[in-house]
């Protein structure tokens, strides 16, 4: 009997300890910006004590969880569609956070030089029309590199993904064949290839599979010292994905629409890296818990000012000042 009593009091102690911790905000979605989001949330927690639990489980999963109401806010690399917005009980607002690049990362045995690829070539690789690394269409853009006769292993995302959304949006803009056969979307019918979960999963597969090519956010290739391709932009120049290339893409944007839903794929400018995109946090326009509202709006304000300074170190591009000013006004709309 005494033993049972001891166990019971131990259990109740544990519960009491767990319940007394500070408030946590739960968020989920895009894995494309996960490295910088988690860095931000760590810094913000150190500064204010507000803990934000972010799980980068894919843009589509994030939107689904926001719709179900199981997270406090979500994140996506592709703006929500009108139908998706309608499906959410409390209308979400789009807050661009940073810009990033979707890069073609590869693992070609024996090749250390930077490979150059044009949009239609990438589309044909992903359509399964180009199957060898030494295909004449790849070789034509890579004079001076000896490409092996290895089979190309195409790697794509297995989960619903904003990174896929950005990538297929770009391919649809540069390849009519892609637009007709596959189209755009967070999940598409892939004609060929292996699937990996999240940006990390695709990077992991490419790293382990000789002959493979995959698409991930720039930071995932940089952190893992994997090769990534220069891509031909709308001005006809090959641009290596970088902080500068993405910044140029942002500068080429004509005007940010009122609701911040915009695509900048294949934008103008000599220095523009063509597969660049904003990435968004999706914040409910009404937050009933005052403590949570204060924490989330406080974070947004911090992110738009202090937080932007972290972008470059992680190879993301900070928001243009005009966009920041516009977003600050939108924070006031959160009721």
């Amino acid at each position: 009997m005494k033993r049972i009593y001891c166990a019971a009091s131990l259990v109740s102690l544990l519960f009491a300890g767990l319940a007394s911790a500070a408030e946590t905000i739960n968020a989920a979605g895009a894995s494309f910006p996960a490295p910088i989001y988690q860095k931000w949330f760590e810094e913000y927690k150190a500064k204010t004590g507000v803990a934000i639990n972010y799980q980068g489980n894919g843009s589509s999963a994030g939107i689904k969880l926001l719709t179900d109401g199981t997270v406090d806010f979500a994140a996506s690399d592709v703006p929500m569609t009108d139908d998706q917005i309608k499906a959410v009980k409390i209308k979400p607002l789009h807050f661009p956070t940073v810009l990033g690049a979707v890069v073609l990362t590869y693992n070609i045995p024996g090749v250390t030089a930077d490979v150059q690829l044009s949009g239609p070539t990438i589309a044909d690789i992903y359509l399964g029309a180009i199957t060898k690394w030494n295909d004449p269409r790849i070789a034509a853009d890579n004079k001076g590199i000896k490409l092996p006769a290895t089979d190309i292993v195409v790697v794509h995302r297995s989960d619903g993904s904003g990174t896929t959304g950005i990538f297929t949006d770009y391919l649809a803009k540069v390849s009519p064949a892609w637009e007709k056969k596959v189209g755009r979307g967070n999940s598409v019918q892939w004609p060929t290839g292996l699937g990996g979960a999240q940006n990390a999963g695709v990077a992991g597969l490419v790293k382990q599979t000789p002959g493979s090519i995959g698409y991930v956010e720039l930071i995932y290739a940089v952190q893992n010292k994997m090769g990534y391709a220069s891509v031909k932009n709308a001005a006809g120049k090959f641009v290596k994905p970088s902080f500068e290339g993405v910044t140029a893409a942002a500068a080429g944007m004509k005007e940010m629409p009122e609701d911040f839903r915009v695509s900048i794929a294949n934008g103008p400018g000599d220095k523009t890296y063509p597969i660049s995109s904003f990435t968004w946090m999706l914040i409910p326009s009404q937050i009933s818990d005052p403590a949570k509202k204060k924490a989330i709006t406080g974070f947004l304000t911090w992110m738009l000012t202090e937080g932007q300074k972290d972008a470059q170190a992680l190879s993301y591009a900070p928001l243009p000042p005009a966009v920041v000013a516009k977003e600050k006004k939108q924070i006031a709309l959160i009721k």
Binding site: A19, K45, Q55, D68
Partner: protein, 285 residues
């Protein structure tokens, strides 16, 4: 005649070798897994792993303190729900559920079916009844999912050990004037105590390595969980998310998490063995 003898001898030798080889394969598989995990996990585990929180994607360092506690929390809930229900189901089946009873036949059959439901399906079920309506991933939902796996294991095991208690013990108790309830509580269950305990501990060890039911019930957490109604980190989910990543340091931590999980399960197993061999449980089987 001699030919027949030689033939029978040959068949005997072949079968003996075959079974022996299979036994060696079974045991060596276990040892290869253990050795590989201890080798990789051993060089990966460090103090930080036990006392620090995970760092952001791609950063080197940090630990899984929250996942170790979280796993403990989820398993505790699973045990609090699963063990009593499973245990009493087992008692019912053994003591009241005779061969002719249709009801116990159905319960026994359903129990076996539940035992065979893929763990991912149990996860979906728990998410549908506890996560979606409440709008919260939570440690409780994770514990509930795992308890659904623990119930059939505990029930089956309890029934087995109880029905092995000799009939004479029960009759002795009745002869002294004890009621059925008294007999079960004071004679039958204590006699099978060690076996039941072992079964429970093995069941708990079995569910503690499950990641699929936790993916969309307890979810995951970068930081300390805010309470039992909040998402919580757990070792199996951490192993999953770290193992598919491209980062060497995350792979290291996944190995470390695997080793820590294995050691916890081994401790539970060894504890179960000790409880079984110590004391004077009536011989079983």
């Amino acid at each position: 005649m001699t030919f027949r003898n030689a033939y029978r001898k040959a068949v005997n030798n072949v079968m003996l070798t075959l079974t022996g080889v299979c036994a060696v394969i079974t045991v060596s598989t276990l040892f290869i897994i253990l050795a590989y995990l201890v080798y990789n996990g051993g060089k990966s585990v460090n103090l930080d792993f036990f006392i620090k929180l995970p760092l952001g994607t791609g950063e080197t360092g940090g630990g899984m303190a929250n996942a170790i506690v979280g796993s403990g929390e989820i398993i505790l809930f699973a045990s609090l729900i699963g063990i009593p229900i499973g245990f009493f189901t087992g008692v019912y089946l053994s003591e009241w559920g005779g061969q002719g009873s249709v009801y116990s036949f159905v319960v026994r059959y359903m129990n076996d079916l539940l035992n065979g439901v893929p763990s991912i399906v149990i996860g979906i079920f728990a998410a549908t009844v506890l996560v979606k309506p409440l709008h919260h991933f939570s440690a409780i939902a994770g514990g509930f999912a795992l308890s659904l796996m623990l119930i059939p294991i505990t029930a089956k095991n309890t029934e087995q050990f109880l029905s092995e208690v000799p009939r004479a013990l029960r009759e002795g108790s009745y002869a002294l004037g004890a009621t059925k309830w008294r007999t079960i509580a004071s004679v039958v269950v204590p006699a099978a105590r060690k076996g039941i305990m072992t079964g429970i501990i093995l069941g708990v060890a079995r569910i503690s390595g499950e990641s699929a039911p936790l993916l969309f019930t307890s979810f995951n957490n970068q930081v300390w969980s805010n309470g039992i109604q909040d998402p919580v980190a757990s070792l199996p989910v951490m192993i999953y998310s770290h193992a598919i990543s491209p980062y060497d340091d995350w792979h290291r931590q996944a190995w470390a998490a695997g080793l820590v999980l294995l050691v916890l399960v081994l401790i539970a197993n060894i504890a179960a063995r000790l409880i079984l061999t110590r004391g004077s449980s009536p011989g079983r089987g």
